[in-house]
């Protein structure tokens, strides 16, 4: 059994938007600090479990056009989420599988084939100084990750110390039925509220009976959607209150904004509904031009869905306790 040296990875090209992320910066929203974290928590957790990391280890989030990375050590890696055509020294690299990238190899990404965001985990996790308890990058406030910004050419990424038995993980896969399929048109389940009384019944029918398209004005903070207009009932002014990831804000132009990981903690637009937690990983894989249909769901059902999703994953890939404990 070989003990691996901590990973050292040279960034040859940064890619379009590659950031260090974990499961989010909680406990500081009351100070206006965004949660941020991986947009697709399911793919992040799977990537970490495949390489034997605890769920909250830091990973890379790759957006549409991935980076080019030179591995300076033998490194145990898993790539999950979107299929961004990964190759290692010109050969197709498997995804949703724990693999060994040999020292001196280059990992390259090509055209996006399905989904928008891929996740790269390395055994031992990516090293970064935790800020307010998280390694997640929030670019807007230049917080966390690698100096608060996306990767760029010349950066060097360092891995944490992995367990001696990590190489035993190589070849571990997520069974195919559990691997999500990413389509250009998705159904996302929503829970009505909290500002249901700001909207007419007709607006809810419009929201659930139409397709909404992800516009190019979309990023980690939120997706601006285009589709049939949603109008508030009256002209009652709305007082800013707490937001949530997945919330559908309705600004005065009636075009919904779907709030995502880097959302502001409070917002001044009423929220007609919120996408359920179990469907947020699918929302994270949408790119401009993709279409959404919203389907009503109850809170109790949404919570059952999430528990089922997690129980299925735990049965195939149980969580690993913290490396330091």
């Amino acid at each position: 059994m070989t003990e691996l040296q901590p990973a050292e990875i040279l960034v040859v090209k940064g890619g379009w938007l590659t950031t260090v992320q974990d499961l989010g910066r909680y406990g500081h929203q009351h100070d206006g600090v965004s949660v941020s974290g991986a947009m697709d928590s399911f793919s992040t957790i799977v990537a970490n479990r495949l390489v034997g990391n605890p769920d909250q280890a830091a990973v890379l989030e790759l957006t549409l056009k991935g980076p080019e990375l030179q591995f300076q050590q033998d490194t145990v890696v898993a790539i999950t989420g979107a299929d961004l055509s990964p190759t290692i020294d010109g050969h197709n690299a498997p995804t949703w599988e724990c693999i060994l990238i040999p020292r001196g190899s280059r990992l390259h990404f090509g055209l996006p084939r399905a989904g928008a965001r891929a996740y790269l985990a390395i055994a031992g996790g990516f090293k970064a100084l935790p800020v307010m308890g998280s390694r997640s990058t929030h670019w807007e406030s230049e917080t966390g990750g690698l100096r608060g910004r996306p990767l760029k050419q010349g950066d060097v990424l360092v891995g944490g110390k992995s367990e001696p038995l990590t190489t035993q993980q190589i070849g571990t896969t997520l069974p195919a039925p559990l691997c999500p399929r990413y389509e250009r048109s998705v159904a996302l389940r929503i829970i009505l509220g909290p500002q249901g009384d700001f909207f007419l019944k007709k607006s809810i029918t419009t929201l659930t009976g139409s397709f909404y398209t992800v516009s190019p004005q979309s990023n980690r903070m939120g997706y601006r959607l285009t589709g049939p207009k949603i109008s508030p009932k009256g002209s009652t002014p709305f007082i800013s209150d707490g937001t949530a990831t997945g919330a559908l804000q309705i600004p005065p132009d009636g075009q919904p904004i779907l709030l995502m990981a880097d959302r502001q903690t409070t917002g001044g637009y009423p929220k007609i509904a919120v996408v359920v937690s179990a469907d947020l990983p699918l929302a994270a894989q949408l790119a401009p031009g993709d279409r959404i249909r919203f389907v009503l769901c109850t809170v109790a059902h949404a919570q059952r869905l999430l528990r089922m999703q997690r129980a299925q994953l735990d049965a195939e890939l149980p969580p690993r306790k913290s490396l330091t404990s």
Partner: protein, 244 residues
């Protein structure tokens, strides 16, 4: 804890009204009213403190705002119905008993010029000379209602109605750190440089957000703020002190 010998107050307190609204499957918003006033906000701050003091496992964030508290939780550890029941059962306190007097902060501001590019427009909106608009803005003891928008950004109120100019039609792509702005009856301070749509009337040289310090954020909901107009020399002097 409220003293036991005040039954009337305790009785009134137990009837404090709020609505619990679902914010998806991982958060609840507890709404105490639908307007901006210090009484409702005091109840909000007191309730947020009570929830925080429970130290419940699986509660991610407790976010007080003008008139509501949003509680974010791990939906694998909590279901909304159970959490709502627990929140309803919490002891409630009259705001005057519950709220420790917030800290009073004096924030020095250099008004106008390149530091407050919208001062003249705000003064025109108010029908005042710029100096009168400054005096009016600085005459109020403001309450910190909430933090939001960006790390450490305080929403202060209430701005005198005369100065309550709406946001700019087109937000600026970058507002410098320390900028003091007005949006309707709110005034606020940009802790870091961000895009922003508020009417910028001045700038403070002191820092509201220090990433490296343990006490990262200067202001807390329930604190009070008074703005103190300063001149250029004082601004430069304080800027140098803040840097070191």
């Amino acid at each position: 804890m409220p003293p036991a010998n005040r039954p009337t107050r305790a009785h009134r307190a137990s009837r404090t009204v709020f609505r619990i609204l679902p914010l998806g499957d991982a958060a609840l918003t507890i709404e105490f009213g639908n307007e901006i006033n210090s009484e409702i906000n005091s109840r909000v701050v007191a309730f947020a403190t009570t929830v925080f003091d429970q130290h419940w496992q699986g509660i991610h964030d407790i976010v007080p705002t003008y008139r509501s508290v949003t509680v974010h939780f791990d939906p694998l550890q909590w279901d909304s119905a159970t959490l709502a029941k627990r929140l309803k059962a919490l002891p409630r306190r009259e705001p005057d008993q519950a709220e420790p007097p917030g800290i009073l902060h004096e924030i020095p501001v250099l008004y106008g010029g390149e530091w407050g590019q919208d001062l003249e427009e705000v003064a025109t909106f108010a029908g005042l000379q710029p100096a009168e608009a400054i005096a009016l803005h600085a005459s109020v003891l403001y309450r910190v209602y909430m933090l939001g928008f960006s790390p450490g950004f305080p929403y202060l109120g209430l701005v005198p109605g005369q100065l309550a100019m709406p946001r700019r039609a087109t937000p600026r792509t970058k507002v410098p750190a320390g900028s003091v702005g007005i949006a309707d009856r709110q005034t606020g301070i940009y802790p870091t440089a961000t895009p922003g749509g508020w009417q910028i009337i001045g700038r403070t040289p002191i820092s509201l957000y220090r990433k490296t310090r343990t006490n990262t954020f200067l202001l807390k909901p329930g604190d009070r703020v008074r703005f103190k107009p300063i001149v250029r020399d004082e601004f430069d002097q304080l800027s140098r002190e803040t840097e070191t």
